[in-house]
Symmetry: C2
């Protein structure tokens, strides 16, 4: 009899746990968006004379349509350097994701819309906040960089890079959104390819740029929340098929 | 007989002109938005030590709720200085609009959504591009300023000011939008009051800020088109009533 009572108790516990799990899941869904806390990466000395393999970006950079290295038949075999400025690694595009995960311990998030919460915004430049974002069948790299382009005046630069070729990147649009203190700032653009080098995208200023004062207005307790959304830009996809 | 023939000809001409006018009007409506070409104003020497009468803005500037000068019963009688940095005029808020029209020849545009087309973006800093915008029963001042906060690195700052008190300004939201070359940048905020001084809003960086490279990406033949929309922010209006 005791055995049956215990079994019945265990079943009740299981039902209770299942209900709690269902409730938790519902709360998570109600929250709507996945928030990812991103700590700054340890930044080594800035290597300014490093060049991307292949095309470097121009002022009208993302108006590119054909990358010279795309003559390689399999885009995954295109040579590529590590997009982080502190790293001298070189390899093929197909292994960049595993290099970033294993060597730099960069997390991968899944879902078309996420919130990137960068902590410790007060840290001195240069500092990077980085995550990978997996959606629509590709990996994207979000880089937020604090940099002193003009000495004594640090700025924040945020950009989204596709881990793939420029032609593949042309099929997407990304949006970065800041929203706080009755202010909203939105940046929408076509992602750049990691083959183009993050450093040159940032030095060209072809990304979301924030002065320190604006970054403070959008921050809460030293953390900056950036809403990220990626969509397939159908017009470009249709053009690519023509 | 000749007289009647001439009269009939004149009537036909009038009908033709009327039809042409109707066609022109229809084309204008089809275009959807009013585009206003704004030439730069002649800028005198920048007077950096000028202060606004009353409250100067703080870092969290628009979180103000009560302007000390709003203790004056009629908001139109609050003293105010000219919001243009090259002018030392002082007067009441009620006569700022006529001062800006008569002395600085600044145009007034009507309608909730307009396109501000600033020409000659290459001109050296400091340069202002200014229009007044009349909608929702108020006058707003759009100021685009090219300024070298950091020597040798000009930036563009765009903000919308209400010609009225900060409490009146809290009832509105303005949006500035740039859209070109597969890039889009949107800034939304509560307008600041002209009593707060344009100079301090810009020096705080609490506005749309563009580096030269980004301004070039959004420009077409040296002209920058900024879409402007103003809406009544019902939440604030409801809060003000509480």
């Amino acid at each position: 009899m005791l055995f049956f009572t215990q079994c019945f108790g265990a079943v009740l516990d299981l039902i209770h746990l299942r209900f709690q799990h269902y409730k938790a899941k519902r709360v998570f869904s109600a929250a709507g968006q996945l928030v990812c806390v991103v700590n700054p990466t340890h930044s080594l000395k800035y290597v300014s004379n490093r060049h991307a393999v292949g095309q470097t970006s121009t002022e009208q950079g993302s108006l590119h349509s054909h990358h010279p290295l795309e003559t390689v038949h399999d885009p995954q075999l295109i040579p590529c350097i590590c997009p982080l400025f502190s790293c001298q690694w070189e390899g093929h595009v197909e292994v960049v994701v595993s290099h970033l995960r294993q060597t730099h311990r960069i997390n991968i998030l899944h879902g078309a819309e996420i919130v990137f919460l960068a902590t410790d915004m007060h840290l001195p430049a240069p500092t990077d906040w980085i995550i990978m974002h997996s959606c629509l069948g590709h990996h994207f790299l979000l880089v937020l960089r604090k940099l002193e382009k003009y000495e004594g005046h640090p700025q924040f630069f945020a950009t989204m890079m596709l881990i793939g070729t420029p032609t593949q990147a042309d099929n997407f649009t990304y949006r970065l959104e800041l929203n706080r203190n009755q202010r909203r700032l939105k940046w929408e653009a076509t992602p750049r390819s990691v083959l183009e080098c993050v450093d040159s995208v940032i030095s060209d200023g072809d990304c979301l740029v924030l002065n320190t004062s604006l970054a403070q207005l959008f921050s809460d307790n030293g953390s900056l929340a950036i809403g990220i959304a990626i969509t397939a830009s159908k017009v470009h996809a249709a053009e690519a098929e023509m």
